[in-house]
C-alpha cells in the first residue's frame, strides 16, 4: 500500500448566505498516495473546487468547516497554524486553475510574477541573487515545455496564447509543488489539440518529478488517459471511487452509469436522454442520499439515510444502499 499523502475523511463544509445555510460538502472522502494520480469527475456545482479549496484552506470567508479531517502527511491541515500552513503552500502543494488568463496578473511581466514565486518557494532561507532567481525561472519554464523561455519572461500575459499561458501557470505551480499538484480543469479554456498537448506534457512532467496529482475535470475523456484512480462526485458527495479502467468497464452507481451514457460517442449512436430532474439546491437539500430524488431505483431508506461508501472489491467503492446496508 503506497504511503498516504493526502487523506480526506468525512468532510462537511457549509456556506452562510443571506437566505440561510448552504450545506455543500456532505461527508467527502478522498485519498491520494505518493506519486499517485487521482481524478475527480462531476458536473458544475458538485463541490469539486470547494473540496480543493478546503484542502488548500482558501475557502471564502463565509465558509464553515462543519466536520471531518484533511490529513496531509499525517497532520490535519484544518488544524494547522498559519505559519505551518504557509510553509505547506510554499513548498509542498500547489494548484493550477481553470482560466490561465485570470490566474496571471495582466500588468506584470511573466518574469516578475514567476520570479516572485521562485524567490518565495525555492530560496526560503538564504537570500538569492537576481541571477540565481532568473536561472531557476528559466529552468521552470523549460520544464513546462515552453520554447524561448527568456523571451517569455520578458513578455506580458496578453502577448502569449492561451496554451502558453497555461504552461506558464504550470511552471509557476511547479515552483512550489514538491509533493502534490492540484489541477482544476486545466484544459477547459483551451482548444482540443492544445489541451491534448498540454495534458501529455503535464503527465510527463508529473511522472518525471514524482508528484501526486489531483485532476479535476468535467471532461471525462480528458481525465481517462491521465489518472489511475477516479472519483465521481455529485452534489457534494463522493458517489463512487475506483481504479480508472475498473470505473469505465464496470460503473455501478446509477449516476455514474447515466453520466457515461450521456457522453456523445465518436462512433455515433445518437445522444441519449440526460438524467431526469435537476441538481438539488444546497439550501433545501434533504438528508439521505443526495441522488435519491433522481434515482430510478431509490428505496425508502435512500431518502432518509446517507449511504456510506461500501467496498465492492478491486479497490472499488460506492456510496449506494444497493451495495450494502448501513
Amino acid at each position: 500500500m503506497a504511503e498516504q499523502l493526502l487523506d480526506v475523511k468525512d468532510l462537511h463544509v457549509n456556506f452562510k448566505v443571506y437566505e440561510g445555510l448552504l450545506r455543500v460538502l456532505n461527508g467527502v472522502f478522498l485519498n491520494v498516495g505518493a506519486k499517485e494520480k487521482v481524478g475527480i469527475i462531476g458536473e458544475s456545482g458538485c463541490g469539486k473546487t470547494t473540496t480543493m479549496k478546503a484542502i488548500m484552506r482558501i475557502l471564502a470567508a463565509n465558509a464553515i468547516v462543519a466536520g471531518g479531517t484533511i490529513a496531509y502527511r499525517g497532520s490535519d491541515v484544518l488544524q494547522l497554524g498559519m505559519e505551518d500552513l504557509m510553509r505547506l503552500r510554499r513548498t509542498s502543494m500547489s494548484m493550477i486553475f481553470q482560466d490561465p488568463t485570470a490566474a496571471l496578473n495582466p500588468v506584470f511581466k511573466i518574469g516578475e510574477q514567476l520570479e516572485d514565486i521562485v524567490r518565495y518557494s525555492e530560496f526560503t532561507s538564504n537570500a538569492p541573487t537576481k541571477q540565481e532567481v532568473r536561472t531557476k525561472a528559466v529552468e521552470l519554464l523549460k520544464s513546462a515545455a515552453l520554447p524561448e523561455p527568456e523571451r517569455i519572461l520578458d513578455s506580458y500575459p496578453f502577448q502569449l496564447s492561451g496554451g502558453m499561458r497555461q504552461r506558464v501557470c504550470i511552471a509557476m505551480s511547479l515552483a512550489s509543488a514538491k509533493d502534490l499538484l492540484i489541477a482544476d480543469e486545466p484544459g477547459t479554456s483551451l482548444d482540443v489539440t492544445i489541451e491534448d498537448q498540454i495534458m501529455r506534457e503535464l503527465k510527463q512532467i508529473v511522472e518525471d518529478r514524482g508528484l501526486s496529482v489531483i485532476l479535476i475535470s468535467h471532461s471525462i475523456g480528458a481525465v481517462k488517459g491521465f489518472v489511475t484512480k477516479l472519483y465521481v462526485m455529485y452534489a457534494g458527495t463522493m458517489l463512487e471511487e475506483a481504479p480508472t479502467d475498473e470505473l469505465f468497464s464496470n460503473p455501478v452507481h446509477p449516476y455514474t452509469q447515466n453520466l457515461l451514457k450521456a457522453v456523445p460517442k465518436l462512433t455515433g449512436g445518437g445522444v441519449p436522454e440526460g438524467i431526469a430532474g435537476r441538481i438539488p439546491s444546497y439550501l433545501t437539500i434533504a438528508d439521505g442520499c443526495r441522488f435519491a430524488s433522481r434515482c430510478r431505483s431509490a428505496k425508502e431508506s435512500c431518502h432518509t439515510d446517507a449511504p456510506p461508501a461500501f467496498d465492492i472489491g478491486n479497490g472499488h467503492r460506492v456510496a449506494c444502499f444497493h451495495f450494502g446496508d448501513s
Binding site: D191, K224, K265, T267, G274
Partner: protein
C-alpha cells in the same frame, strides 16, 4: 440551386481591418444546407466558424460573396434586413449568460420577439409566453425570474425558446452546449432534435466538439483559418478523414470507449501553435503544421475538389477527384 437547399453560401469572405493588419476571419467559404438538415461546421478557435454564423445572421455584413436563404439574397447587415427575414432566421448563442439581458425577466425576454412581430393579439401575450415555457420544459413560475438566477441549461433553454418564438425556418446554433455539463447538454441536444422534427427546422450547428458533431449533424465541414478544408457526410467524415488537419483533430479527441479509440486515426502530433488569422501562411495555410507537407504546399492555395461523391477536400495530397464515383 437545387430545390432542397434552404441556405446557400457562396464565396463568403469577411475581413476585419485592425490596427495590426487585416484579419481574414472568413476567406472564401462555400457550402449549402439542405432543408431539414443539420449541417455541422467544426473547427478550433480562430477558424472562423463563429464568424460565418455571425455573417449569416447579419451581425456583420460580408466583405464579399453571397448568402441566399430560401432563394432570396440576404447578404446584408441586420440593419438592412426585412422584418420578415428576421422571423425566418434565428440564432442561439454560445454563452447564455451574455445572450440574455441580466436585467430583464425570462418572461420579458421571451415576449420581445412576439411583440416585435405582433404574433399574438393584445392581452394574449402572457398566454403565449406560458406556452413557450411549457415547450422548453421550464416551470411557468420562472417567467418572473431573472436569467442570472438560473443554471446554464435553463438559460440556454430560454435562448432556444426565444429563437423559436417567431416560427423560424432556419436556426444557427453557435456552440449551444459548449458551456454546459454533459447531462444538461444531452437534455438540450435532445430538445433541439425534437424541435427540428416538430417544427420542420434546418440547423447550422457550429461546435468544436467532434464527438457531439458526430451525433447531431448529417454533413460536416471543417474549417481552418477561414477556409473549409474538408466537407463530407458524417459517417464518411469520421471513418475516412482525408485532410491532415481533420486527422489531427480527430486523433486528439478525448474518448472513453475502446470502440471510439479504434475509430480514431493514428496520432498526429500538433507541432507549434495555431497561427493567428493575422499572419496567414502563404499557400495552404496549414502547411507549417502539416506532417505531409510538400514543396507545392507553401506556394499554391489548394482548391476544393470532390474527391469522392459527396466528399470534398482542399489539399495537395488530393489534387483531383478519384476517377470512379
Amino acid at each position: 440551386m437545387s430545390a432542397e437547399e434552404i441556405l446557400t453560401v457562396k464565396g463568403l469572405k469577411k475581413y476585419f481591418k485592425t490596427t495590426r493588419g487585416i484579419v481574414k476571419a472568413v476567406d472564401d467559404v462555400s457550402f449549402s444546407v439542405m432543408k431539414n438538415e443539420t449541417f455541422g461546421l467544426v473547427g478550433e478557435s480562430g477558424s472562423g466558424k463563429s464568424t460565418v454564423g455571425h455573417v449569416i445572421m447579419g451581425i456583420y455584413g460580408p466583405t464579399a460573396g453571397s448568402i441566399t436563404l430560401m432563394g432570396k439574397d440576404i447578404s446584408v447587415g441586420v440593419g438592412r434586413r426585412s422584418k420578415e427575414l428576421k422571423k425566418r432566421l434565428q440564432i442561439v448563442f454560445q454563452d447564455p449568460a451574455s445572450s440574455l439581458n441580466p436585467r430583464r425577466t425570462i418572461g420579458q425576454i421571451l415576449e420581445l420577439p412576439l411583440r416585435v412581430h405582433h404574433l399574438a393579439p393584445e392581452g394574449k401575450y402572457s398566454e403565449k409566453v406560458f406556452e413557450m415555457m411549457d415547450l422548453i420544459e421550464l416551470p411557468r413560475e420562472f417567467v418572473v425570474r431573472y436569467p442570472g438566477e438560473q443554471g446554464g441549461g435553463e438559460k440556454q433553454a430560454v435562448a432556444i425558446g426565444r429563437a423559436l418564438a417567431t416560427g423560424p425556418s432556419f436556426i444557427v446554433l453557435d456552440e449551444p452546449t459548449s458551456a454546459l455539463d454533459v447531462s444538461i447538454q444531452a437534455k438540450i441536444i435532445n430538445m433541439l432534435m425534437r424541435f427540428q422534427k416538430e417544427f420542420d427546422l434546418s440547423y447550422l450547428f457550429i461546435t468544436h466538439n467532434l464527438s457531439l458533431m458526430r451525433n447531431v449533424a448529417q454533413r460536416v465541414g471543417i474549417m481552418y483559418l477561414g477556409k473549409i478544408v474538408e466537407l463530407a457526410g458524417t459517417p464518411e467524415f469520421f471513418s475516412n478523414p482525408l485532410h491532415p488537419y481533420t486527422k489531427m483533430l480527430l486523433s486528439a479527441v478525448p474518448v472513453i470507449t475502446p470502440e471510439e479509440e479504434a475509430l480514431k486515426p493514428e496520432k498526429i502530433m500538433s507541432t507549434g501553435e495555431i497561427a493567428g488569422a493575422l499572419n496567414v501562411p502563404p499557400g495552404c495555410s496549414f502547411h507549417p503544421r502539416c506532417p505531409f507537407v510538400m514543396d507545392i504546399c507553401s506556394k499554391v492555395v489548394p482548391t476544393m475538389v470532390e474527391y469522392k461523391k459527396g466528399h470534398h477536400v482542399a489539399c495537395h495530397l488530393y489534387p483531383s477527384a478519384v476517377s470512379s464515383g
